[in-house]
Symmetry: C2
Subunit: 330 residues, 2 copies
Amino acid sequence: MRIVVDAMGSDDHPGPDVAGAVQAARSFGDAIILVGDQRRIEAELKAHDTAGLAIEVRHAAEAIGMKDSPSAAARDKRESSMHVGLALVRAGEADAFVSAGNTGAILAVATLRQTGLGRIPGVLRPAMGVVFPIESKPMLIDNGANADAKPEYLLQFGQMGSIYVEHMLGIARPRVALISNGEEEGKGNQLVKEAIPLLAASGLNYVGNIEPKEFVAGAAEVGVIDGFAGNIMMKTAEAVAGYMSDTIRKYLMAGTLTKIGGALARPAFRRVRDQLNPDEVGGAPLLGVNGVVIIAHGRSNAYAIRQAIGQARRVSERGIVAAIAERLAR
Amino acid sequence: MRIVVDAMGSDDHPGPDVAGAVQAARSFGDAIILVGDQRRIEAELKAHDTAGLAIEVRHAAEAIGMKDSPSAAARDKRESSMHVGLALVRAGEADAFVSAGNTGAILAVATLRQTGLGRIPGVLRPAMGVVFPIESKPMLIDNGANADAKPEYLLQFGQMGSIYVEHMLGIARPRVALISNGEEEGKGNQLVKEAIPLLAASGLNYVGNIEPKEFVAGAAEVGVIDGFAGNIMMKTAEAVAGYMSDTIRKYLMAGTLTKIGGALARPAFRRVRDQLNPDEVGGAPLLGVNGVVIIAHGRSNAYAIRQAIGQARRVSERGIVAAIAERLAR
């Protein structure tokens, strides 16, 4: 297995990206190709013991930043680490691409037909799946690749999400639900209302439209939603979880007894934090492009990058791209 | 002040609705008109000491349930507690209407031109504002009255939300933001992109588009969003807050020391719970209809109904409807 890691991806690149790649090379034994500014990567690598690890460096003269316009960067920064890295996957020189960089740019560069991976034949729009950090670990798809969606896109999001969960978690017929503003008939926006009959007739294990509450309670393994509302749902979940943790901490520190109570209760808080920790999950798979792409959080630390690389190798091993190609060609 | 309370509204009606009305009549000294099944209301009232309270009962032969189709119920159930109650406000016999019933039906009946309140002249679509239960208490609008929105609706949501916050919280020029899937230029769905120039040119204190994280951090007093994504955002916040509380409790109970810690920390947890408690807030104002309407949660208990009535009287006192009429007629 050879995995390309964008060394210019994370907010603090190339530190966490390189350190995560070293951890992954050691843990999983895979070959890692670090792509980006060669000098900076090599300087960073010196801080690590890489003896016996299969780590290569591939220079890329440009880098795409978080503030770059995705479409402009995809068009103009042809020497970026994303372009160079994805071209390696395209050429069959590597099995997967991992980046913690600008999500829109990863999507745009990966979708390029001439130099990126392009779409899997039959796929209308690639989508970003994301594991919702609750115990049952359901997938929410789309998490923002398509701010505007059509009913047929939602159908395909459900199909791709179902395949992912089936192959990655070994669940035979994952329950697929549309996320909506109510479960009653007649609820939903126009998009959801038009997607319902498509999903109902799809042969998927479609369980209807559900509210966020039911999704959080584990009512489906795959939650289908347009990329705008899906991104807002995911970010709201992260924001509220963070707000609650901060508020609990503040109130615990406000009194002597509660402070002692908080100290005794720390192992429980740590379990909650670990469970909700997006770093554990790895990254978000970009489904529908013709190759394995994992998008890690911009805030990723080395451990999160390592986990994203681990996820990339599993997605590659389990043949998700081929399975999507087979289903959507039907 | 005379306030109409829909006695057939909450999930457990008429118990909480009647009890909340009694509490409000005692606390605020207002006249309350309970509308619904006269026999059931009177039976319920017997459980309370109502001596000296200005509580009237007005019979309504029908009730609209949570599963009723809003448009069908608005058209066909002309004798419902919602129709009868809103007609009292329309006729000037009461100052405000409070219901914990079917949200879509309240909206549909309230908007009826002939028998309901109709829209304030100039208002394209009434919207539901909701207080987001964090410390800074910002308003999210729309919380689901319009699953499909247009850019001009979002502009008006911002205007109505701004007026509400200005008059209710005494904030001179509330910061108004569009909730989006990113702050960078080019982010947002088509709707958001088209709403940006409208809000920027509106004369409102428009602070740009923000992500849920910034909204939760208090970056705006008014968050503008379409009713579909807004409802999902609000319900995700509630679901995640509930999930975290449950998970923390579960892990606290799993060990002896953490159990003791949790007991000592209880006052801190209670403060968090109270702060996040939607019952404290009251209800969601339906803005843009030609009269005061407060929509309480279906799960409301007596206290939540009391709070919603308290909110209805403040909205009435502070002339929100007149202020919206003045602004949108310009």
